[in-house]
């Protein structure tokens, strides 16, 4: 039974930790990598230390999370130490980075490479911080410039994480076509008002929606992009159990990332997913994950 997968780097299983969830502290990444995750994407790291927004940075409900952490991060220079700690696990770490332009992205990517990450994930899609992420991601020329630049500067694989807050994701994906894989999807811009306080809950007002609620949107993007571009895809958005993961894989994802579900199920979710994947394969006579990647497109 083959559950290992290839997204430009080889993974022992398809379950990765998504960027921004318990991956800022090296020890936490190390622990999660020692507990079933095949790799971790780091919190998105920028040029300078950033405090991010004040709490509340998160509102959560049974079926979703809205977050506006605000790209808080220690800055690339302070992050080497965390990656070192995470790498003690012997598993691949993927460095997520965000910047304003191609130059910042390449510089960040080169530093990440020098810290021995296995791949770079370009965060082209954070929906709640002005001047970064989503605004970058919705400009196809800029996206394609960033991807080309970064590709030319590092020798490890480069993944592009795209925004669902767009009217034409196919165009966006085409702009990022030089990436080794596309990561779909980031959060959807959303907000919460407390009707008794009569105020937006998040200090930043707007945040990004994640969790079970966005899975149907994520599935659609993975399927649609797989169909249009036939590139390697990493699926993310609302995965809570093995059925969700299989749905993404059948839509075309070669690996999946888990984020919000860690809040509901704890980091034990990775071992559980591995066990349940084995069981699913046995029960349904599947021998090789390759046989089901994108099978719904056929």
């Amino acid at each position: 039974m083959k559950v290992n997968t290839d997204i430009g780097i080889k993974l022992k299983n398809p379950f990765m930790l998504a960027s921004g969830i318990l991956d800022e502290n090296g020890y936490t990444m190390e622990r999660i990598l020692n507990n079933g995750a095949s790799s971790t994407v780091t919190k998105s790291i920028g040029m300078e230390e950033r405090r991010g927004f004040d709490p509340p940075v998160i509102y959560h409900d049974e079926n979703y999370i809205i977050n506006a952490v605000g790209l808080s991060n220690p800055g690339i220079d302070n992050f080497e130490e965390e990656i070192k700690i995470a790498l003690r696990s012997g598993k691949p770490v993927i460095g997520s980075i965000f910047g304003r332009d191609a130059e910042e992205f390449s510089l960040l990517a080169r530093k990440m490479e020098s810290y021995s990450v296995s791949a770079i994930e370009l965060n082209l899609s954070c929906p709640h911080v002005k001047g970064y992420g989503m605004e970058v991601g919705s400009d196809p020329d800029l996206v394609s410039e960033i991807v080309s630049e970064v590709k030319s500067k590092v020798s490890i694989p480069v993944f592009s994480k795209l925004s669902p807050n767009t009217s034409d994701i196919v165009e966006e994906a085409k702009a990022a076509e030089k990436s080794d894989a596309l990561v779909l999807i980031n959060t959807i811009k959303a907000m919460k008002i407390d009707i008794y306080a009569r105020k937006p809950v998040l200090s930043n007002v707007y945040g990004g929606l994640s969790g079970a609620s966005i899975k149907p949107v994520g599935i659609r993007y993975v399927y649609e992009i797989k169909k249009e571009l036939n590139k390697k895809i990493i699926g993310v958005g609302g995965i809570e159990n093995i059925n969700d993961a299989i749905e993404y894989i059948m839509a075309g994802a070669s690996a999946v990332q888990i984020g919000s579900a860690v809040y509901k199920y704890g980091i034990g979710i990775f071992n559980k997913l591995n066990n349940d994947l084995n069981e699913f394969f046995i029960k349904n006579n599947i021998n090789d994950i390759e046989d089901i990647i994108g099978v719904a497109l056929k």
């Binding site: 020890y27 936490t28 919190k43 405090r51 709490p55 998160i58 808080s72 130490e81 008794y196």
Partner: protein, 246 residues
């Protein structure tokens, strides 16, 4: 977001107030809420009283704690939670060790076989003496009240083997001092940690210690758990995620 109607506000000392309200939440000693100061911030706060009537004792440091500390009868407290793993309650003789308002979350543990140590920089920091019926040592850095010295000064005056469990709460440096003092003795202890918290639900990684989240795996850790945590009292992440040394 939940909300609770404020019944009363009690001034405990300089810049320390207790906010009183009533909710149906079932709280266990050591659990906390994320209290929302709308438009300002959201901060973790523990309970100092946990029956149907609830109390939260707040020391004013910045804007959010000031907002919460000043909630008065008729106002509402907005919060989410309760969160976190509580203290494990054991039968027998207990020693509660609190630094400043760190004594507050320990108050619900008091029964008739409880002894206490309250430490503070100065006399003004000492609150909740009244709950201990004199079964209490007080120690201040400047000697303005109680013994002159640190928490270890008070610890040294006691035979710790008499106690079935030590419960400690306060700044991590103070907890580390207690831990170092007892780590080679055969003593049971639980520590409630404070690290910067943004989400309270185990997602943001800002409160983590050696891969464990203080908000969900803690805030209470046993001495055995801490023995495997080399971050304890040594390093932590700041709000931005930058690693700093204590």
């Amino acid at each position: 977001m939940k909300r609770a109607y404020i019944i009363d506000n009690i001034t405990e000392g300089k810049n320390v107030n207790t906010v009183v309200f009533s909710t149906d939440d079932e709280i266990k000693p050591g659990q906390f809420i994320m209290a929302w100061a709308p438009g300002i911030n959201e901060i973790p706060l523990s309970f100092s009283y946990i029956n149907k009537i609830k109390k939260i004792t707040v020391k004013i440091y910045g804007e959010a704690s000031e907002y919460i500390a000043h909630l008065k009868r008729g106002d509402y407290l907005y919060y989410s939670g309760p969160y976190g793993k509580p203290f494990t309650i054991v039968p027998g003789k207990k020693l509660l060790i609190g630094a400043g308002t760190g004594i507050a979350p320990l108050i619900p543990l008091i029964d008739d076989n409880t002894y206490g140590i309250i430490s503070g920089k100065t006399a003004d920091d000492i609150i909740f003496e009244r709950y201990f019926n004199n079964r209490l040592k007080i120690v201040t850095d400047d000697g303005s009240y109680g013994m002159n010295g640190y928490v270890t000064t008070a610890l040294k005056t006691l035979d710790l083997n008499e106690f079935d469990m030590l419960y400690a709460c306060g700044p991590e440096i103070m907890l580390k001092t207690v831990y170092d003092y007892i780590k080679n003795m055969d003593i049971n202890a639980q520590f409630s940690l404070e690290r910067s918290m943004k989400c309270g639900i185990g997602l943001c990684d800002s409160c983590s210690i050696n891969g464990y989240q203080v908000c969900t795996d803690g805030p209470v850790f046993s001495i055995e758990q801490l023995k495997n945590m080399d971050e304890f009292g040594r390093t932590r992440l700041q709000y931005s995620g930058k690693r700093i040394y204590f």
